[in-house]
């Protein structure tokens, strides 16, 4: 999906380049046609006799080939679109091979009854019909939406708060910024194992501490109870995702010109007004991008769930990605697993469209009209 977003960026950039060139081309042509008109007017003054004499006198020396007509190939050779096409070819081939083909193949598999190690036959929408009536599948869709929704909102709120905090002048600013990134740097599997121990039914340090403080009299059933398990998994995901949001938004904050704040201060704006009318609008495009990525990563999360619960208890934390893996790779029903993966695409497209419309705001930001 990230590649698709990148492709859109490339496309937008290319369009802008083409537009710019068009303008220049138009200018050239205007100049050229103008001078032709001048030449034509000059020609009117010369008489035909003189022309013939000149022709005769020059004939022997002009025995060169008639001016070559400009072929389509000549035009093509200097055509920048044509050249551009060639430059784009490696990228296109790359996307085709590693994105379009696997994605297309996955969608095709979802219409077959393929099993691991055995090619299947086309079964139409049988897999989807089965999933439509599968209570587990709908539970998993609910889990995924809950997981993504709650985690993303918290990641955004905490990330924005942290970014604004880190944007102030603090002692050891660079060091603190680096420290904030740690949860993001630790490989997911490792942090997931750490959480697995933190949430253990018997050995949780959280339960142990609370018990020794006399606050509870039995261990907290973090991963064994349906809702406890969901919140525990969401918490672990938020912990891991906040640094990405915070650091990216911090980068966005630093592009906001201080002069705007100065002007606002002179006008007597309150800190809230400054945030609401300067920081927030100028940060919108970057928020759109960072939240799109955050939603995509959360929606497709796999490692954390697989290490913590493997989808349990009773499928309460199964996400679409983990259910797809369980049914396709472990259970061997590739077709059904592919159908579950394919069912994720509409949700992901919505997230990408959000990014698209978020990016549109750039024009407005650059002082053009908002369309």
């Amino acid at each position: 999906m990230a590649a698709l977003v990148a492709a859109i960026h490339v496309f937008v950039a290319a369009r802008q380049g083409v537009d710019g060139r068009h303008k220049a081309g138009h200018d050239d042509q205007w100049w050229w046609s103008d001078s032709r008109a001048q030449l034509a007017s000059l020609n009117l003054t010369t008489n035909s006799k003189e022309t013939k004499m000149v022709d005769v006198a020059l004939k022997p020396t002009m025995a060169r080939a008639p001016a070559r007509t400009v072929t389509a190939w000549d035009r093509l050779k200097v055509n920048r679109h044509w050249l551009g096409l060639w430059f784009m070819l490696p990228a296109a081939a790359f996307l085709l091979l590693f994105l379009v083909y696997p994605l297309g193949y996955g969608v095709w598999l979802s219409f077959t009854d393929t099993r691991i190690g055995r090619t299947g036959v086309y079964v139409g929408t049988e897999n989807y019909e089965w999933l439509w009536g599968d209570a587990t599948f709908w539970l998993v869709v609910f889990n995924t939406l809950l997981y993504t929704g709650v985690a993303s909102v918290f990641k955004f709120a905490i990330g924005l708060y942290l970014a604004i905090l880190l944007n102030q002048s603090l002692p050891f600013k660079a060091l603190i910024r680096a420290l904030v990134l740690i949860p993001f740097i630790v490989p997911t599997v490792l942090s997931a194992i750490a959480f697995w121990w933190l949430y253990d039914a018997q050995f949780s340090i959280i339960s142990w501490s609370l018990r020794h403080l006399g606050l509870i009299d039995h261990n907290i059933n973090f991963l064994g109870d349906v809702w406890n398990a969901r919140w525990s998994a969401i918490f672990a995901n938020i912990w891991r995702g906040v640094p990405f949001v915070a650091i990216t938004l911090l980068a966005g904050l630093q592009t906001v010109s201080p002069s705007l704040y100065e002007a606002a201060t002179i006008d007597g704006a309150t800190p809230w007004q400054m945030f609401r009318h300067i920081t927030y609008p100028l940060l919108t495009p970057i928020i759109a991008v960072v939240m799109t990525f955050s939603v995509l990563f959360t929606f497709t999360d796999f490692q954390l769930i697989w290490v913590l619960t493997r989808g349990g208890p009773v499928n309460a934390t199964h996400l679409m990605a983990t259910l797809s893996y369980q049914r396709a790779i472990i259970g061997g029903s590739l077709g059904e697993g592919a159908a579950i993966s394919t069912a994720m695409i509409p949700f992901l497209l919505v997230a990408i469209l959000m990014s698209w419309f978020g990016l549109q705001r750039r024009k407005w930001q650059q002082g053009e009209s908002n369309d």
């Binding site: 099993r115 691991i116 190690g117 055995r118 090619t119 089965w130 009536g133 599968d134 209570a135 587990t136 949430y199 253990d200 039914a201 018997q202 050995f203 039995h218 261990n219 059933n221 973090f222 991963l223 064994g224 109870d225 349906v226 398990a229 290490v307 619960t309 493997r310 989808g311 349990g312 208890p313 009773v314 499928n315 369980q326 049914r327 790779i329 472990i330 259970g331 061997g332 029903s333």
Partner: protein, 439 residues
């Protein structure tokens, strides 16, 4: 995860009798003599490659490597061994069978050869040879090994999953020996909870321990996923009884078992948090190895699964069959290696190396000293004889494998025990899924 944890737990139990057995010149002479007289002569210039499940007990793998070395020295056939997590052998073997390229031999999990029986070398002659020489195969092994009247794989061993319990808490519960029936077992479970020495079975997605206990519970009450013709018969009063019984157990277990995976009960037992659970011999092996856990090793023992209304043992143990692919250029070498592995001179020290983790399928190996030198290992001797096969009454093929991999029965029990569904709802969900798998 599971693989790593279990292996880590038992890693130190190395070098029991392993290296000594295969190094003496006498042994090499035997191996060479065997190669001369064996019915299978490896092809000229033969080389073999094998993909096996990754060991849980280091000393088992040491013994295995020594055995393979001996085979190479005796026959001149070079054998390359690759190891994969046991869950990954099946997909790789399936792809190899499909594409006709890959390792010559696959040593994987229970129903592996039945996924592509026509792609497996017919090894009936090897099975007959070994069966005749070593007192015959146990019935479960025959079911796993045979397909369409011929042997498509050699069942090397079972991996037992039995009850692990603390002796002191059994006595405290007022019992002199471990409960032999499901009713007694329930009394025991209730008593351990009352005595604050509870135990637990995994109800999370634990492929090994979780599946073992729920299948025992279902079968013990006469419930079955499918009949002998693979027709789904899950929706029955017996299944409902099994669920009710499991719920009673669950209510008296330590809290949190719904989140357990295969490693959770090992950790909890070794920490003294639980006093009974179901597991392989790895808890005992780990407790023996760690001096700090000596009190646990001394105070624990193993037992068969209690017998329920069905009136016979209803246990599910893992099977590890070894198969050769038809695309191999050296079928005779494959067969000779299979036979060599199970010859007493090799298999006996190997069993010793695996410290009870692996159980033989050939009756003659009941006499191996590993089963009697420590009486606590003895129950594991019989798991091959007592084990039912994956799929219960039904076939052992791909459908049974999928049902187990998809935690169909396990989730049915978890759904009811945790109160997410009532009996009818839990059965209905599982039945719908089963009908699709067995269509």
């Amino acid at each position: 995860m599971t693989t790593f944890t279990r292996r880590a737990l038992v890693q130190g139990s190395t070098a029991l009798a392993t290296s000594a057995a295969w190094t003496g010149p006498a042994f090499l002479n035997w191996a060479k003599a065997w190669a001369q007289t064996a019915p299978w002569k490896p092809e000229q210039g033969a080389e073999l490659s094998m993909l096996r499940w990754k060991y849980f007990v280091q000393s088992e793998d040491d013994a295995f490597v020594a055995l393979i070395d001996a085979y190479t020295k005796a026959t001149g056939v070079k054998v390359t061994v690759a190891r994969e997590s046991y869950e990954d052998v099946q997909p790789k073997a399936s792809v190899a069978a499909n594409t006709g390229a890959g390792p010559d031999l696959f040593w994987g999990l229970y129903s592996l050869p039945h996924l592509f029986p026509q792609k497996c070398v017919d090894v009936s002659d090897v099975a007959d040879y070994l069966g005749k020489k070593y007192g015959g195969w146990v019935p479960g092994a025959v079911k796993y090994g045979e397909s369409g009247g011929k042997w498509i794989a050699i069942p090397i061993c079972f991996n037992g999953n039995l009850l692990n319990y603390r002796i002191s808490s059994l006595k405290k519960a007022g019992m002199s020996k471990f409960p032999a029936t499901t009713d007694e077992f329930l009394e025991y479970v209730k008593a351990t909870k009352a005595n604050n020495t509870p135990g637990g079975f995994a109800l999370g997605h634990a492929s090994g321990d979780g599946n073992a206990w729920v299948h025992w519970c279902l079968w013990a009450h006469g419930g079955n996923l499918v009949d002998k013709d693979d027709k789904v018969i899950l929706n029955s009063p017996e299944t409902a009884k099994a669920l009710e019984y499991a719920k009673l157990l669950f209510d008296n277990m330590i809290p949190g078992t719904a989140s357990w995976n295969d490693a959770s009960n090992n950790k909890a037992f070794l920490a003294g948090e639980i006093h009974w659970t179901d597991n392989g011999i790895s808890i005992y092996a780990a407790a023996q190895r760690d001096p700090a856990k000596k009190d646990i090793a001394d105070d624990m023992d193993h037992s068969y699964w209690p017998i329920g209304p069905a009136g016979k043992p209803t246990e599910l143990h893992l099977m590890y069959p070894l198969l050769a692919m038809t695309y191999t250029k050296y079928p005779q070498a494959c067969k000779s290696l299979m036979a060599f592995m199970l010859e007493a001179e090799n298999f006996n020290p190997w069993l010793v190396g695996s410290v009870g983790y692996l159980t033989h399928c050939l009756n003659a190996y009941d006499a191996n000293p590993i089963w009697t030198s420590d009486p606590k290992r003895t129950p594991f001797r019989d798991v091959a004889k007592r084990s039912l096969t994956a799929g219960g009454l039904g076939s052992v093929g791909e459908k049974a494998a999928t049902a187990i991999a998809d935690f169909l029965v396990l989730d049915m029990f978890a759904n009811y025990c945790t109160g997410r569904e009532d009996v009818k709802g839990a059965i209905a969900i599982a039945e719908r899924q089963a009908k699709r798998i067995y269509r």
